[in-house]
C-alpha cells in the first residue's frame, strides 16, 4: 500500500526533475562559464534516485504480494517463489517500462560524469535530447501504463505469472537487453548534439565508441539469453524462430554492428561522418520501433504482451516525432566537411569496412521487410500473410558466402592502401582444405548441393583464417580477433547444427520401446510429484545407441495452478559434441505420451561463440588506447 504510493509520487517527482534539468540546462547553455553547472549533476542524480525508489517500491509490492496494485494482481501470486516474484517485476509491460526508464536515467547520469573532457555545449545538448526521450517515457508510463494503479476491493489472490516466463535466463534477459537498447539512446542524443554543435570529430568518435561498445555488448548478451530461453523453455528444439519479437532485437544489433565498424574509420578520418550519424539515428529508431511493434499488439507473435491500441498510438506518435526531429536536425545543421577528401585505395581496410556495412544493411533490410511487410500489406490490400523462416533463409543464406569471404580478407588489410602482394600459398592451401572438409561432410550425409558446399567451406575458411590471425603478429588488435573468431565459430556451429540435427517423433506408453535407425528409446516409468506452485509428471526414458551406450533422460510436464497452464520441460543432456534433447507431451487422456527426441550437434558452441563475441567487445572496452 505505502510502497505503492511512494512509488507513484516518486515517479511524478522524476518527471518534475526532467523539466527542472531542461530549465537549468538552457540557462546554463548561454553562460560563458566553461564548466557545467553543478546543479545539473545533482538534478540528474535526483532523477535517477526517484525512478530507483519507484522501481524498488514496485519490487517491494511484488515481494509482499500487495494485490491492491493492479500490476501485481495481474502478474503475481502468493505461491510463487521469491526469485520469480522479484523477476516478475519486469516480466510485464508496466514494470518493464519502469525498468527502461530506470536505465535511461542511470545512463544519462553516467554520461554526464564520464564526459568531462568533452565541450560543455555538446554535453548540454546531449542531455537535452536525452531528457526529451525521458519525458516521453515518463508520460507514456504515467498516462497509459501506470505500474501503480490502485485496485479496490483488494483481491485476495493474484492471477499469477505465466509459467513460461518463470525461468532464470528470462529473469535477466530483459534488463540486459534494455541496457543495450537504452545505450543506443545515448548514441542517438549524442550524435544529434554533435551535429548541432558541429562537433563530429575524431575526438567525438573516440568518446562515443565506448557507448557504442557498451550497448553492443549488452544487446549481444541480451539476444543470446533470449534465445537460450527459447531453446530450453519453449521446447521446440530450436533457438531462433524469426519471430517478429526476435527480429526486432536483431535489427538494432545489425545496425549497431555496422556502426561499431564505421566508428573505427571515423576515429582515423572524417569522410563518412554523415553515414555514422544516419546509423546512430537508425539504431535507436529501430529499438523504438521494436518497442512499438511488440507493445502495440500490431504483430501476432509467440511473445504475449498486453495488447492495447492506446499504448500503440502513443509510442507511434512519439517514435515519429523523434524520427522527424532527427531528420530535420540532420538536414538543417549537418555540414558535410568534405574538405579533406582522402582517396582510399580499392584494397584497404576502409573499403572492407564499407563492404561490411553494405552486407549489414542488406541483412537489416531483409529482416525489416520480413517483419513489417505483413502489416503494410494488410493495411494496403487487406490481405493477411505470414512470413516464416524460409523467406529469411532464402534471402540471407546465399549472401552469407561473399560476406564470410570478405570477412576473412578484410581485417588483414592496411588502412588507406594495401599492396596486392603475391597470393600466399598458405591462404590458398587453407581454402582447399576448407573445400575438402565441406565436401566430405556433405558426402557423409548425402545432400551435396553446390550452394551448401560453398557455404560450409566459406565458413570453415573464415574459421581457419581467424585462428591463423590469432597467431599472426601483423595486427595486435586482440579484441577484434576474439570477436571475429567468435563470429566464425557461431556461423560454423549454426550451419553444422542445421545439417546434422536429427529428430525422432513417436507416441509411447509406459514400458514401451521404440527402435529407430540409430538406436532405441525405452519409456521406463512415470512419477508424479508436487511442488510449491505446480504438480509435475516426470517421465523416465532410456536412450540406447547401436553401440549399446545408453543415457537416461527425464523430461517433465508441469501443471501450474495459477494461472492453470501446462508446460513441458525438456530434458537436455549437453556435451561438447551435441545436445540430446527429449520432450514429452500429453495426448488422449494420459495413456500415451507424445515423445520427441532430438540430437542437436554443437549446440553449446552456439552459446560459447556468442559469448566470445561479447567478450571481444569487453576487452576492447578495457583496453588502453596506447596498446593498439
Amino acid at each position: 500500500m505505502l510502497a505503492n504510493q511512494i512509488g507513484y509520487y516518486s515517479l511524478i517527482l522524476g518527471l518534475v526533475s526532467a523539466f527542472l534539468i531542461i530549465f537549468v540546462s538552457i540557462k546554463n547553455f548561454n553562460n560563458t562559464n566553461q564548466s557545467i553547472d553543478k546543479r545539473i549533476f545533482s538534478l540528474s542524480f535526483m532523477q535517477f534516485f526517484f525512478v530507483a525508489v519507484s522501481f524498488l517500491g514496485l519490487i517491494f509490492s511484488f515481494i509482499n504480494s500487495d494485490f491492491s496494485n493492479e500490476t501485481v494482481f495481474n502478474n503475481s501470486h502468493t505461491a510463487k517463489p521469491l526469485f520469480y516474484k522479484i523477476s516478475g517485476t519486469w516480466g510485464n509491460h508496466e514494470g518493464s517500462l519502469l525498468l527502461w526508464l530506470l536505465v535511461l536515467t542511470l545512463f544519462i547520469f553516467l554520461f554526464l560524469i564520464r564526459s568531462n573532457k568533452q565541450p560543455k555545449k555538446y554535453r548540454i545538448v546531449t542531455l537535452l535530447f536525452q531528457q526529451v526521450i525521458i519525458i516521453g517515457f515518463f508520460l507514456f508510463l504515467l498516462k497509459t501504463s501506470n505500474p501503480f494503479s490502485y485496485l479496490f476491493p483488494i483481491p485476495k489472490e493474484g492471477l499469477g505469472l505465466n509459467p513460461i516466463l518463470q525461468d532464470p535466463a528470462l529473469a535477466i534477459h530483459p534488463p540486459i537487453l534494455y541496457l543495450g537498447y537504452v545505450g543506443s539512446s545515448i548514441i542517438f542524443s549524442s550524435s544529434l548534439a554533435a551535429v548541432t554543435q558541429n562537433y563530429i570529430s575524431k575526438a567525438w568518435a573516440k568518446h562515443i565508441k565506448v557507448w557504442i561498445l557498451i550497448s553492443w555488448i549488452f544487446l549481444t548478451l541480451g539476444i543470446m539469453l533470449g534465445s537460450i530461453w527459447a531453446y530450453y523453455e519453449l521446447g521446440w528444439g530450436g533457438f531462433w524462430f524469426w519471430d517478429p519479437v526476435e527480429n526486432v532485437s536483431l535489427m538494432p544489433w545489425l545496425c549497431l554492428t555496422a556502426l561499431l565498424h564505421c566508428i573505427l574509420i571515423l576515429e582515423k578520418k572524417l569522410p563518412i561522418s554523415s553515414w555514422v550519424i544516419i546509423l546512430s539515428i537508425a539504431t535507436f529508431t529501430l529499438s523504438m520501433s521494436g518497442t512499438f511493434l511488440v507493445r502495440s499488439g500490431i504483430l501476432n507473435s509467440v511473445h504475449t504482451f498486453a495488447n492495447d491500441p492506446q499504448r500503440g498510438i502513443f509510442i507511434l506518435v512519439f517514435l515519429f516525432i523523434l524520427i522527424f526531429l532527427s531528420l530535420i536536425i540532420f538536414f538543417v545543421f549537418h555540414k558535410n566537411n568534405n574538405q579533406e577528401i582522402v582517396k582510399t585505395h580499392w584494397l584497404s581496410k576502409e573499403t572492407s569496412i564499407l563492404i561490411n556495412n553494405w552486407f549489414m544493411m542488406y541483412f537489416l533490410s531483409v529482416v525489416l521487410i520480413g517483419t513489417v511487410y505483413p502489416i503494410f500489406l494488410e493495411v494496403l490490400s487487406s490481405e493477411k500473410i505470414s512470413i516464416g523462416p524460409p523467406f529469411y533463409h532464402k534471402l540471407i543464406v546465399p549472401f552469407l558466402i561473399p560476406f564470410l569471404i570478405f570477412m576473412s580478407i578484410g581485417p588483414n588489410l592496411n588502412w588507406i592502401k594495401s599492396e596486392v602482394t603475391k597470393i600466399r600459398i598458405q591462404i590458398v592451401l587453407l581454402f582447399i582444405i576448407s573445400l575438402l572438409i565441406s565436401i566430405l561432410i556433405l558426402r557423409k550425409i548425402g545432400s551435396a548441393n553446390l550452394i551448401n558446399t560453398i557455404l560450409i567451406s566459406a565458413a570453415f575458411y573464415l574459421f581457419f583464417i581467424t585462428i591463423k590471425d590469432f597467431f599472426s603478429t601483423k595486427f595486435k588488435n586482440y579484441p577484434q580477433k576474439i570477436s571475429h573468431f567468435g563470429f566464425s565459430l557461431l556461423i560454423l556451429s549454426i550451419l553444422l547444427n542445421n545439417i546434422f540435427s536429427s529428430e525422432v517423433i513417436t507416441n509411447l506408453e509406459v514400458g514401451e520401446k521404440f527402435s529407430f535407425k540409430e538406436g532405441s528409446i525405452t519409456f521406463e516409468s512415470v512419477k508424479n510429484t508436487e511442488s510449491k506452485n505446480y504438480r509435475s509428471i516426470i517421465g523416465y526414458f532410456k536412450i540406447e545407441d547401436n553401440k549399446k551406450n545408453s543415457i537416461r533422460l527425464k523430461p517433465e510436464l508441469r501443471i501450474y495452478d495459477q494461472p492453470a497452464i501446462i508446460t513441458s520441460e525438456a530434458d537436455i543432456k549437453t556435451t561438447l559434441y551435441a545436445d540430446k534433447f527429449l520432450v514429452m507431451n500429453l495426448i488422449k487422456d494420459n495413456e500415451y505420451f507424445n515423445v520427441r527426441y532430438q540430437v542437436k550437434p554443437f549446440m553449446i558452441w552456439i552459446w560459447i561463440s556468442t559469448l566470445l563475441l561479447a567478450i571481444g567487445g569487453m576487452f576492447n572496452l578495457f583496453q588502453k588506447p596506447n596498446e593498439k
Binding site: F292, N300, G312, L327, F331, F376
Partner: protein
C-alpha cells in the same frame, strides 16, 4: 554549386518526410484494424469438417451435427489459462442473449476441470463446448492463437474472423450482421 547542394538536400528531406508520413499512416491504420479479418466474399471459405469431444458429456460429435438448425454460428476458441479470454467473456455473455446465433466454444489445449471451473465462475455463454486438446482443430481452422472468433452462416461459410479478444467495435460489427 552551393545552392544546388542545398536544393538537393531539401528535396531529399521532403521525400524522406513524406515517406515517413506514409509509414506513420500505414502503421496507424494497422493499429486500428489489426484484429479483424474479413475473407473476400467470392472466396468465402467453407468450414472444415472435424469431430471433437464435448467438454461435459465427453461424447464424440462431428461438425455436421454441431452446425445445424441455426441462422448464424459463432465459433469461439478459448482456454481457461488465457487472460484475454477473461476480458472478452462478458461480451460473449452478451452475445448469447441473441437468439439468432448459436455460440460454440472450442476449448483450446486446456485442462477440462479448469475449463469447467472457468465457466462456473464467469458463466457459460455457449450452447455447446467442444474440446481441442491437441490444438489441431484450431490449426486446421487457420487460427493464430487464443482467443479467436469465427462468425459462420447457415451454409457453414466463414463470414468473419476476429483475431484476439472481442471488443466493442467487433461486437457492433457482429450485431450489424445478425440484426
Amino acid at each position: 554549386m552551393k545552392n544546388k547542394v542545398i536544393l538537393k538536400n531539401k528535396v531529399i528531406l521532403i521525400v524522406l518526410l513524406l515517406f515517413f508520413t506514409f509509414c506513420f499512416v500505414v502503421l496507424y491504420k494497422g493499429l486500428n484494424n489489426s484484429n479483424i479479418y474479413i475473407p473476400k466474399t467470392i472466396y468465402e471459405k467453407t468450414l472444415i469438417n472435424f469431430s471433437s469431444k464435448d467438454l461435459f458429456s465427453k461424447n464424440e460429435i462431428s461438425s455436421d451435427k454441431i452446425f445445424i438448425d441455426s441462422e448464424f454460428y459463432i465459433l469461439n476458441i478459448w482456454a481457461s489459462w488465457c487472460l484475454p479470454c477473461r476480458y472478452e467473456h462478458p461480451k460473449l455473455m452478451q452475445l448469447s442473449k441473441n437468439s439468432s446465433v448459436k455460440l460454440i466454444g472450442l476449448n483450446y489445449k486446456d485442462n477440462p476441470s479448469n475449463a469447467k471451473k472457468f465457466l462456473n465462475e464467469f458463466g457459460n455463454p455457449y450452447s455447446m463446448v467442444i474440446t481441442d486438446k491437441k490444438g489441431t482443430i484450431s490449426i486446421e481452422l487457420g487460427a493464430y492463437g487464443v482467443p479467436e472468433t469465427f462468425l459462420i452462416n447457415k451454409d457453414k461459410k466463414i463470414i468473419k474472423k476476429f483475431i484476439g479478444s472481442l471488443n466493442q467495435k467487433s461486437l457492433k460489427e457482429i450485431n450489424l450482421i445478425l440484426k
